[in-house]
């Protein structure tokens, strides 16, 4: 075989140029966000078939709840004709996995999955060639089945993959044009399967950043400012230094951290540091935000424009204007960020549950002015993030302190620190003006959104209307943000959908048409019509003019290329809203892992329910007033609705994301259902704060 080269490890290794195999998306928020990140063009290993018959697959993605390890294992197992439990997927380790921009934007299955399928198909072809030599049969008479290459004519003649590669070190390049297994031959993909990492999760073996411990490791407790924009004036560490277990107090400029032998010793000593802070006066409160959004709005960006809205409003039988407001909310993943750093002979290793291990490697290398090859970032299991763990400040803190101490150091946020120092889904104020005919046909649509923060891609996501009409103008402005804004499930998609889909219901009420019927009248895209009809059917929707006093609501959405619709039913007791049941339909094209997709949809609905009913960050004078679960309510099991998910995608349509789209119709569907029940239109979230009880 002319294309083989020797490596040190036995087995069949499939390699690929990462930049060729996995280019960054040409047009996405991710590219805008991380435009400074350049893909490595070195050759990287994607897959190894080992002498014991096991298959290792490598991806720079991370597992933070979306089930990617299972999804990728399923793709490899199917393409390589091995059992699912013969595949090991190694994720997020900068020393061992191909370069990756980060795990966000629901790109994992779509891009890396395809690359791993190509690698597996390349391996399958190579194994057939090896078997042809060994069995002395033409390749055309051989096929792969259950980890073996088998003669079609005489199934007794076969050879196990492991035996084909034992004692050999073979390397092949990923064939970009390799024939992939047709869908009707899938035996693993598209079928329900238990998660490959389930047992580790139910036995406590799964290791998260919070769980990493190294010999000699010190626990750090950095001194945290009492408020945003507070500067350290003076600090006296004399008492703290004398406390038991304290090994060192590291001071670098404004930053002070206690390093101790145990977590409690570090926390206690940090409280004993006498610190004086100067806080900036006049910081806004959450009540100031709606005004701030309009007052500080930057140049609007037109995200959709057609026809002439002024002319459209003239043609309209009626014109409706509404204003919607969504507060800052917290991602609040169950695992607060934590990192452990270790320096050995000038080489830094950091365990950090970041969505961007390679991006973090670059940041660390830049900070310490060392080569990226001198930094290894390992992303263990990640206890949730929902977008926010692209930013991971504790990693640099741990690395700095480990360097100062000459010992491994762990920095872990408390719950309050996690909520204060993480990012927030930015607040937004949205004006919608619509013109429509008496039969509900839209003729003019103006959507003017003000999203907090300097990341315009957040607020632009999902701002375009999917309804078919001639005269449209959608603009999005970025405004000053008193809190640090960041990614959240669907970014601003769910925010924009709340305004648009609430407004569609207001039109339905104005013209006296059933909300499902009103949407269908204005939708031409078949994929939209299909998800809406599927969700309505699954729900048992029967048409009525809102408010029908039944407490039912509907909304549709489009996010990361996937189409979604949701119907909900609510009950209201005083100001407590209970979501009884949700029927939702998703079209994300080909579904690799239906259990995984449904699980993500269910989670998106529960999360969306929290944003709709309970969640808002309160702040004053630079302090978060509800940085903990006593005052920041999130859904619990006795609030959870019965959820029915239907996947309606065409398997011949390429896969799009399933992790984010589920959230976009939830809040408006709930607000619409509350209106349907009570006649009370709530245009400001969270609903329970604004419902007339």
């Amino acid at each position: 075989m002319s294309d083989t080269t020797a490596t040190t490890e036995d087995g069949l290794r499939i390699v690929g140029e990462v930049a060729q195999g996995f280019p960054p998306p040409p047009k996405s928020y991710a590219r805008a966000a991380y435009s400074n990140a350049k893909p490595d063009t070195q050759s990287a290993t994607w897959l190894i078939v080992r002498p014991d018959g096991r298959v290792s697959a490598y991806a720079g993605k991370v597992e933070y709840g979306q089930g990617i390890r299972s999804g990728l294992a399923m793709e490899v197992a199917d393409e390589l004709r091995v059992r699912l439990d013969a595949v090991d997927v190694l994720l997020g380790d900068t020393d061992h996995t191909p370069w990756d921009m980060g795990t966000f934007g629901s790109q994992s299955t779509a891009r890396v999955g395809l690359q791993l399928r190509r690698a597996a198909a390349t391996a399958r072809e190579a194994l057939v060639e090896l078997a042809a030599d060994k069995l002395d049969l033409p390749t055309g008479e051989l096929e792969c089945r259950n980890g073996r290459v088998i003669s079609r004519a005489d199934p007794a003649r076969s050879v196990a993959y492991g035996d084909l590669v034992a004692g050999k070190a073979i390397t092949r390049d990923v064939q970009e044009d390799v024939a992939l297994t047709p869908r009707d031959e899938f035996t693993v993909m598209g079928r329900p399967a238990p998660r490959v990492d389930a047992v580790d999760r139910v036995t406590g073996k799964a290791q998260y950043s919070q769980d990493i411990m190294l010999p000699g490791m010190l626990f750090a407790q950095p001194l945290r400012p009492p408020a945003r924009k507070a500067r350290l004036v003076d600090a006296d560490t004399k008492v703290a230094e004398q406390l038991p277990g304290v090994v060192q107090i590291v001071r670098e400029g404004d930053r002070i951290a206690v390093l101790a032998e145990t977590d409690e010793q570090a926390e206690f000593a940090a409280k004993a540091v006498q610190a004086q802070w100067r806080e900036e006066d006049g910081q806004p409160t959450n009540w100031d935000v709606p005004d701030l959004l309009r007052r500080t709005a930057g140049e609007p960006v037109i995200t959709q424009e057609s026809g002439d809205t002024a002319e459209g409003f003239r043609q309209a039988d009626a014109v409706l204007e509404s204003l919607y407001y969504l507060p800052y909310i917290s991602n609040a993943p169950m695992e607060p960020r934590a990192a452990v750093a270790q320096w050995e002979d000038g080489r830094l290793t950091v365990w950090a549950g970041t969505q961007r291990p390679f991006g973090l490697r670059a940041e660390l290398a830049g900070h310490f002015e060392i080569e990226e090859s001198s930094v290894r970032v390992i992303a263990p299991e990640i206890g949730g993030g929902f977008g926010s763990k692209s930013i991971y400040p504790v990693a640099l803190e741990a690395a700095r302190l480990a360097k100062a101490a000459g010992r491994p150091v762990r920095v872990a946020y408390t719950r309050a620190e996690e909520m204060v120092f993480a990012t927030f889904r930015p607040a937004a104020l949205i004006e919608v003006k619509s013109g429509f005919l008496d039969d509900g046909t839209l003729v003019a649509w103006e959507f003017t959104a003000y999203h907090a923060g300097e990341r315009p891609f957040i607020g632009q996501r999902g701002s375009q209307t999917p309804y078919h009409l001639a005269n449209v103008k959608v603009s999005v402005s970025s405004s000053e943000s008193p809190l640090r804004e960041g990614s959240y499930r669907s970014l601003g998609g769910a925010v924009n959908h709340f305004a648009r889909e609430s407004h569609m219901d207001e039109i339905a009420a104005a013209v006296g048409i059933d909300p499902v019927e009103l949407r269908l009248r204005n939708l031409t895209e078949p994929r939209f019509r299909r998800v809406l009809e599927a969700a309505a059917d699954r729900f048992g929707w029967s048409g009525a003019k809102p408010p029908s006093q039944r407490g039912v609501g509907v909304a549709i959405g489009l996010d990361v290329g996937s189409y979604v619709a949701a119907c909900v039913e609510v009950q209201v007791h005083g100001s407590e809203v209970t979501v009884e049941r949700v029927a939702t339909a998703l079209d994300c094209g080909l579904v690799v892992n239906p259990e995984g997709a449904k699980n993500q949809m269910e989670g998106s609905i529960v999360m969306g329910m929290g944003t709709a009913l309970y969640e808002a960050i309160d702040f004053q004078s630079g302090r978060l007033l509800n940085a903990g679960f006593t005052r920041y309510r999130v859904p619990r099991s006795n609030n959870a609705p019965k959820i029915d998910v239907e996947l309606v995608g065409d398997p011949d349509t390429p896969s799009t994301g399933a992790g984010e789209p589920g959230i976009v119709p939830v809040a408006p569907a709930i607000a619409n259902a509350v209106f349907d029940l009570t006649g009370d239109r709530v245009r400001e979230l969270p609903i329970q704060r604004h419902l007339r009880g």
């Binding site: 597992e63 933070y64 709840g65 979306q66 089930g67 238990p194 998660r195 389930a198 047992v199 580790d200 999760r201 139910v202 036995t203 406590g204 799964a206 998260y208 919070q210 769980d211 411990m213 626990f219 145990t262 977590d263 409690e264 609040a332 993943p333 169950m334 695992e335 607060p336 299991e381 990640i382 206890g383 949730g384 929902f386 408390t414 719950r415 048992g540 029967s542 039944r550 039912v552 039913e569 009884e580 049941r581 259990e595 995984g596 699980n599 269910e602 989670g603 529960v606 999360m607 903990g628 679960f629 006593t630 999130v634 859904p635 619990r636 099991s637 006795n638 959870a640 019965k642 959820i643």
Partner: protein, 162 residues
Amino acid sequence: MLSIRVNGEERQVPTPERNLLSYLRFDLGLTGTKYGCGEGLCGACTILLDGQPLRACMTTAGSAAGGSLTTIEGLASDATLHPVQQAFVDESAMQCGYCIPGFIMTAVGLLSREAQPNTSQIREALAENMCRCGTYQRIQQAVERAAGVQRNDAHERHDSHN
């Protein structure tokens, strides 16, 4: 010195005022029990003390001395998962999985008090724990499965409002 039984093994408690969660995680290396809030609100640190659920973050190692603790690591016997663990696997009742040990311990505690809980008892018991990934429906189904409860069909309330 005080001692405590952890997963059937006698362990010493050199510092009685040590936070029980920190003791388990950092002193004994039993990191399956998680820190989520430190305020007894999220249930990620739920363990069993003499068979009943306890928030490890809210107590000290000394106050549990003399008792018998079970953590998630001690639930399976040899290679066989506890029925509640197996039910979580079978229902894919997890996403990130960080909260799952706490949920499993809460469920084991519930089933030891009430072998045949109804759906509403399960929902109320599980409300002591939080799952931010929102896998509540699956968790509830897993506990129903472990308890041998007849599964509620997703469509059962389908026609109630037509």
